[in-house]
Symmetry: C2
Subunit: 233 residues, 2 copies
Amino acid sequence: MPTSTVENYVKNIYTEQLASHPRPVPMGRIASLLNVVPGTATTMVKSLAASGLVTYKPRVGVHLTERGEKLALTMLRKHRLVEVFLVKIMGYDWSEIHDDAERLEHAVSEKMLDSMDRLCGYPEFDPHGDPIPSASGKVAIRSLRSLNTCTVGALVVVARLLNQETTFLQFANAQGLKPGTHLTITQRIPSADALSLKLENTGQVVVLGSKVAESILVEDLEGHHQPLADADR
Amino acid sequence: MPTSTVENYVKNIYTEQLASHPRPVPMGRIASLLNVVPGTATTMVKSLAASGLVTYKPRVGVHLTERGEKLALTMLRKHRLVEVFLVKIMGYDWSEIHDDAERLEHAVSEKMLDSMDRLCGYPEFDPHGDPIPSASGKVAIRSLRSLNTCTVGALVVVARLLNQETTFLQFANAQGLKPGTHLTITQRIPSADALSLKLENTGQVVVLGSKVAESILVEDLEGHHQPLADADR
DNA sequence: CTTCCTCTTTAGCCTTTTCAAAACTTTCAT
DNA sequence: ATGAAAGTTTTGAAAAGGCTAAAGAGGAAG
């Protein structure tokens, strides 16, 4: 059985690999994701390579092997299912689930996972809008766009929050911006690098910096479909 | 924060201390409870003593300090509350909760524990009938007697199973012997060292060896109250 | 009062995971 | 092309837990 340290390395390499795509994941990235000094990452990655979870090219970077990817998907499934469970069953607020999920994901058995899945109604997405891999390792793909790429006047629904930091999540939560929220882009203020939105249900107006808007992914609600940039992978 | 290894040592020393009472817990006992060689137990106990969780007299044994006892009660509370949770919320059978509880107890936060407590209706006993320490560390005391000490004809209710082994639990479960089961002692067969019982609700007759009967604690249902031996602490 | 036998401790090693600091490689700009 | 900056790897050490094997202590039994 892999230790929880190994599980964390593999999970983080997986999500990073999605972003850095054909290029391998560099050591520095791994070190900072896992909050260790670079030397530690080198040592660990060599041992991951020795157990056949990654391929490692010195001074270049890391790629998950098939086995590594499978383990990563299992961990992602556990993590995200635990998150849903904490919100739907345990009564957590969706902005405060991350830390507990991070610990629990290493302690839940397959049996426990099945129970959680059933109790939550076999969800496809976690409370941040991240897709939950199926037991067989399949991940639902949606074509979402960043709020940043939307034209003024567009009616969209929030689908996914990319930034998992507690402070960001609490901010988004306080503004009423969570997956499922319908909103219209009312104004773009280039001088302030900002975006103004109106929430459909409450009518509340929210102004966001483009940095924030970038990590909020939405889905178009009307037949607009004007492509401004690529926000997918 | 204590590691889960430390948590396990302290928890096991606590329950063992209840049994060996005024005498300190010997090293050999600790080693076998934790499935390690004696030398390992010695090393760990010395480090527990250094962190102020136990007092250790070489070649004699170990006693929990106040701090150690507090930690032990916290772990016992976590373990037993998790067990209730697995049965009442997650749909586990009460005979198969031990292993998962053993892993989860080290991963649940205070917040999670509170949620579980609320969801389960603030239970006082776990599915085996073991008392759940309160958040402040108080343990409910019941005066129970072993099934072995009951007279023929007595009507009793099963209150607690002392043996936590899966095989024993599955056997008890299959026989319908779980906390809450009402039964009458119908016969005592000294030649076979056995005891015959009739379950009140199903009418099923069960024959137990005295070894098994010893680890089943019951509560008298009628005003019989004939003390045969001591089964408390 | 020795001699065993049992239990406990010591000693020496191993594995994981981490850190700090030194020693490279690459890359990039001049 | 060269020399510094940036990113990586090595080296040496430490903490936590565990094991094996040898050595010690103490009580029971002759």
